[in-house]
Symmetry: C2
Subunit: 377 residues, 2 copies
């Protein structure tokens, strides 16, 4: 691989050599007999990653944000939505749902925390919601939501209510048990825990969600995000037949296939455990450096990324270049009003699963050194 | 490059080695100082490809079809649209516009032909249209529209009416003079004349189109396709600043940059002429083989692809594999009801501009041989 700064932001993450090699697959028709099983198997492997037997994956050319857009298939004007908000991405997901007619009620936690199960129960008692949305890991804060508990609470109080998980920064790095936990939607994309360059939207929909989509009474107000277009395509490729709505991103799908093959070659439990172990150790290091994470408790801390408050007297335009000079790219903050006060580091994918690469050690080393230099200065 | 079937369908086309190498650029943050100018310069070079000084390019993660979706920014419920239809893609573009509230009146030509200028004049005299849509090259038929004449007629009769060009299968292979001809929108994507793997939607909007978008009176009913989101991003990267709405497809943009650099390294006129020359010669060969193109006249024949009627007694499931066995991928038909009756061959990008690669010779050779074999059988 060409020498480059180690990309330790919370996505895009570092890519395996096989994934990058697949990116430069020579020109291949989207209906070529060689490509059809690659797309079909990718759909099947997405199912394995979220541990579902029956849910329907969608793999579509676009960014993760396009997955938000696909909720247009479930929404009709005036639908009530309850949004569990843990940061910037929760705000914008809600904004997207409102464009498609939702009335959004927000349960907002203070920065670094998540809405309590009691608050959720109370809210569900007050109104009937068509869907409850929850950001599994809000990339702006590194707060991990307990989506198992959320789904359990929602389904026990209101079984018809759909549980919609924004899994952009969790799919492939956090435990997701789609069927067992009763999830209805997981939205993600290629460039986070799946370890593939950006450009693919990945969405998984339960049969219950598909029923809601199929039984809607008003037309879907979108063309590109419309499941009427995409569902037959996904079904065709999965049964190893070509189909056409819009040209798929062939090379990105080859890359996704390469990464999914590696990911599904071992138990997802091993992957979840390894991300937990590395993240816990990383937070320990952060504490040892005298720093504090935005996430206020261990169990609400993401396992694929960490957001850390800057120490007094050091600013983002100092810290980020200091690490860049040491060959490591990290990210600044993104929360409105607080963006300049913290930084974010990703620890996902091959950086976690292949410790022999030394990625985590390198970012820790670069961070400690940079802090020392800047504190001296 | 790995050995592979020569991809001579009308997109995706064959990619230059530099473009494929750029596809496997190692993980790079979308706000990395190395990436920002790559994105910014790509925006600028798109302007050069369509010969405009003032229009606004959008480069967004998605397929070409996403460009149709972006017309949501210009449409309000009940808007009158006149659609010049030359095939399958014209039908579906209209379907997309109807989803976003358009009342579409269609001028439909018989297969292989295009609506006459007289018919256009008559239609424009009967009703005031917000936009006229025209498919520059309908990939289903290989018919080339005279967008210069269309724009001239539209602007002389109704200067406020927007001229919307579906340039999916023309950008980079057909003459487009955005400013000189008074175009308002050109919609395309990465995998056709631009010679980049699929996954990027490329749209160019005139200042007049942006005025219509800015002065609309109802909200834009889309989130992912919304220019309120994308315009600030394009402007930021062009002024070499990072910005964030959704993670761009970094590797695809590196690949686009590589291809645009090659394309803009010579006059666009040279490129247009070369595509015309190769296409004319290709059609001559087709006639020499005793075959007929769908396009009914030279001037309405595309220069980046050709659709050809199958000879009596030979079927697509025979011809396509026969060429595949000779290492060449061509495409079947796609027009409803006629799909099995013709085939399509692309001649764009490096296959045309770098004749020393021998791509056109190889497809001609494989086609002649296959026809001989099948006619004997």
């Amino acid at each position: 691989m060409a020498p480059h700064k180690l990309c330790m932001i919370p996505g895009p993450i570092e890519f395996h050599e096989d994934v990058l090699a697949a990116m430069s697959t020579p020109a291949t028709s989207h209906v070529d007999p060689n490509f059809i099983p690659v797309f079909g198997e990718s759909i099947e492997m997405v199912r394995k990653v979220v541990l579902t037997e029956t849910a329907q994956p969608f793999i579509v050319s676009g960014s993760c944000t396009l997955g938000w857009d696909m909720m247009v298939n479930l929404l009709e004007k005036g639908d009530e939505v309850l949004a569990l908000n843990t940061g910037y991405f929760g705000d914008h997901f809600s904004e997207c749902l409102e464009v498609y007619g939702a009335n959004v009620t927000t349960l907002r936690a203070e920065v670094g925390s998540r809405p309590s199960n009691e608050a959720l129960k109370k809210a569900l008692g007050e109104k009937k919601y068509k869907m409850v949305t929850v950001t599994h890991v809000d990339t702006s804060t590194g707060v991990l939501s307990d989506i198992k508990a959320v789904a359990q609470t929602v389904k026990s109080i209101s079984p018809d209510t759909l549980v919609i998980v924004d899994g952009v920064c969790s799919l492939g790095s956090e435990e997701i048990r789609f069927d067992e936990w009763g999830l209805d939607i997981v939205i993600s994309g290629s460039q986070k825990g799946l370890g593939v360059p950006p450009g693919l939207s990945v969405v998984v929909a339960s049969q219950q969600a598909l029923e809601v989509y199929k039984s809607r009474s008003t037309p879907i107000v979108s063309y590109y995000s419309n499941w009427n277009k995409w569902l037959p395509i996904m079904q065709a490729y999965e049964s190893r037949k070509p189909a056409y709505f819009a040209t798929p991103a062939v090379q990105l799908i080859y890359a996704l296939h390469a990464s999914l093959k590696a990911i599904t070659s071992q138990s997802m439990d091993v992957r979840f455990a390894k991300h937990r172990e590395v993240a816990a150790k990383f937070r320990e290091t952060i504490r040892d450096l005298g720093l504090k994470t935005l996430a206020q408790c261990e169990e609400c801390s993401a396992n694929g990324m960490t957001a850390v408050w800057l120490p007094e007297g050091i600013e983002i335009p100092q810290l980020v270049p200091a690490l860049a000079n040491k060959g490591v790219q990290i990210a600044g903050g993104i929360l409105n009003g607080l963006a300049g006060k913290y930084f974010r580091i990703g620890h996902m994918g091959i950086s976690v699963m292949e410790p022999e690469r030394g990625h985590i050690d390198k970012v820790v080393e670069a961070l400690s050194q940079s802090l020392k230099e800047l504190q001296k200065a």
